[in-house]
């Protein structure tokens, strides 16, 4: 069973959302539909939900990139030794650039994947709402007991 609360004014919607969360309604039971993204809603809701696990995806990706960068550069020069500019085969200053790029590349890519996984995307059912609320701000509250 779902309760539907519709607001045409943003201020009323924000105030109701705040009131519901302050009264102890778990954020899991609320679904919010807005005509546009609103940072204030994020700020209100994030106080009642545990911190996102996205940072662990980023850290894992960045560390993999860091280690992978060294593995790639050192592995390739050892496999096909070519002395460049009279420098030692394993020249860390030159490898740092590749390591940095790999850290950023994998950190960002795994973050994107993490975001998709944590947001359960792509979910076409969530994108296309069965009901069109137009310019209304809507709070849908699940009344079922867990």
């Amino acid at each position: 069973m779902t309760d539907k609360m519709t607001f045409s004014k943003r201020a009323e919607f924000i105030s109701k959302l705040r009131e519901l969360l302050e009264s102890g309604v778990p954020p899991k039971k609320l679904k919010i539909v807005m005509p546009h993204p609103d940072h204030e809603v994020d700020e209100i809701v994030e106080k009642y939900v545990p911190p996102s696990k996205l940072k662990y995806f980023t850290l894992a990706g960045a560390l993999s990139g860091f280690i992978g960068g060294f593995a790639l550069t050192i592995g390739t020069v050892l496999d096909w030794p070519l002395i460049t500019g009279g420098k030692p085969l394993i020249s860390i200053p030159a490898f740092i650039v590749i390591v940095f790029e790999m850290t950023i590349l994998l950190g960002a890519t795994v973050s994107l994947l993490g975001f998709l996984i944590l947001s359960r995307l792509p979910s076409f059912k969530s994108i296309i709402s069965p009901e069109d609320y137009g310019n209304e701000f809507v709070i849908l509250m699940d009344r079922r007991d867990e």
């Binding site: 500019g85 009279g86 420098k87 200053p93 030159a94 740092i96 650039v97």
Partner: protein, 345 residues
């Protein structure tokens, strides 16, 4: 001339006289202390106005609480101009004076820097007035100032500092220098956050908190940007391994304690701000923000010293006295900002 303008003019002349006495009537060595103070303070002064200019051009809300305080330092460009004039006799210690070239010759050197400082001062003044009055043309003057700032800082980096190491040269050095100026100015905004916390919160409320977090994030970003510029400079020297190029690093890493100072620059300007500001809670803390800002200033100061010391001798006592004198003048100008930088009605 209004009362405050007269007072500032007199104060600038007195300070110039005082520093002249310190430099030329006491054992000041080859003027390294004088050059250090010129390089350190010009970066903070011109950088502060550049931060506001970027805020105006990009329509950033983060600059609004800090605008008046950051802009108020613009009269000090004139003081730097006067201090540069009394530095002129020290040019004889620059290695290129023995064989002057087309660009590096004494007369052109003096002429271009005197003109540059005057032009930058007038553009900064025009922009400061436009910005404080929220004039229609503030974005336009912001762009003009940023161009003047980039040219001025690049010129200062190439001529005042890099030419000490002649014949070594690097086209990257100018970019590193004006990034450092911007970095120092963000740190100054961090210091203002701590000093004027009550006033800012009172005037801007929640939006100040948001602006402060933005400035802290920018400082974090500039720590990475600085590291990339510094590393790029190092990498090309390391790769090329040409005797003229390696001199910059070789003479600064061969002996202790110069070597430790050289490496500490990376810790002050990159490792400490980067690790500290990785944590959101640290960015939100006023005291931590103040400490990191001071660490950045220390890093920039040590970097300047490390480059100057092997070429020009420094009297540490004179360096500190000059530093304190210019610093006190800066505090005075900022405190008197309401007398010369207010919205015209």
């Amino acid at each position: 001339m209004s009362g405050i303008q007269t007072k500032l003019a007199i104060a600038f002349l007195v300070i110039t006289g005082l520093i002249y006495v310190l430099e030329y009537f006491l054992p000041a060595g080859q003027g390294g202390a004088h050059l250090f103070n010129l390089l350190f303070w010009i970066a903070i002064i011109e950088g502060s106005i550049a931060v506001v200019a970027v805020g105006e051009v990009t329509n950033g809300k983060w600059v609004k609480p800090y605008r008046q305080e950051l802009l108020s330092v613009y009269p000090l460009i004139l003081l730097i101009g006067l201090l540069f004039v009394i530095f002129i006799p020290r040019l004889e210690y620059y290695p290129w004076t023995e064989q002057p070239g087309i660009w590096l010759n004494k007369n052109l050197f003096i002429a271009r820097h005197v003109i540059q400082l005057i032009v930058v001062f007038f553009i900064a003044r025009k922009f400061a007035r436009e910005s404080i009055n929220e004039g229609q043309k503030r974005a336009f003057w912001g762009v003009i100032y940023l161009l003047a700032f980039a040219i001025s800082m690049t010129g200062v980096a190439f001529d005042w500092l890099m030419s000490l190491e002649y014949p070594w040269f690097s086209t990257l050095f100018g970019a590193l220098f004006f990034i450092e100026a911007f970095y120092c100015a963000l740190a100054l905004a961090g210091i203002f956050s701590f000093l004027y916390k009550a006033k800012f919160l009172d005037t801007y409320g929640e939006s100040f908190e948001s602006a402060r977090m933005d400035i802290a994030t920018l400082l974090f970003a500039f720590a990475i940007f600085w590291a990339s510029q510094f590393y790029t400079q190092y990498l090309v020297i390391w790769y090329g391994n040409i005797p003229e190029e390696v001199s910059l690093i070789y003479y600064r890493t061969i002996d202790s304690p110069m070597r430790e100072f050289f490496y500490s620059v990376v810790a002050f300007n990159f490792i400490i701000p980067f690790i500290t500001f990785t944590y959101r809670r640290m960015k939100a803390n006023y005291l931590v923000f103040l400490i990191v800002s001071i660490v950045v200033w220390v890093g920039i100061a040590v970097e300047r010293l490390v480059i100057i010391v092997p070429r020009l001798s420094i009297n540490p006592l004179i360096l500190i006295v000059e530093f304190v004198i210019i610093g006190l003048m800066m505090i005075y100008v900022i405190r008197k900002r309401d007398s010369f930088l207010v919205k015209s009605t």
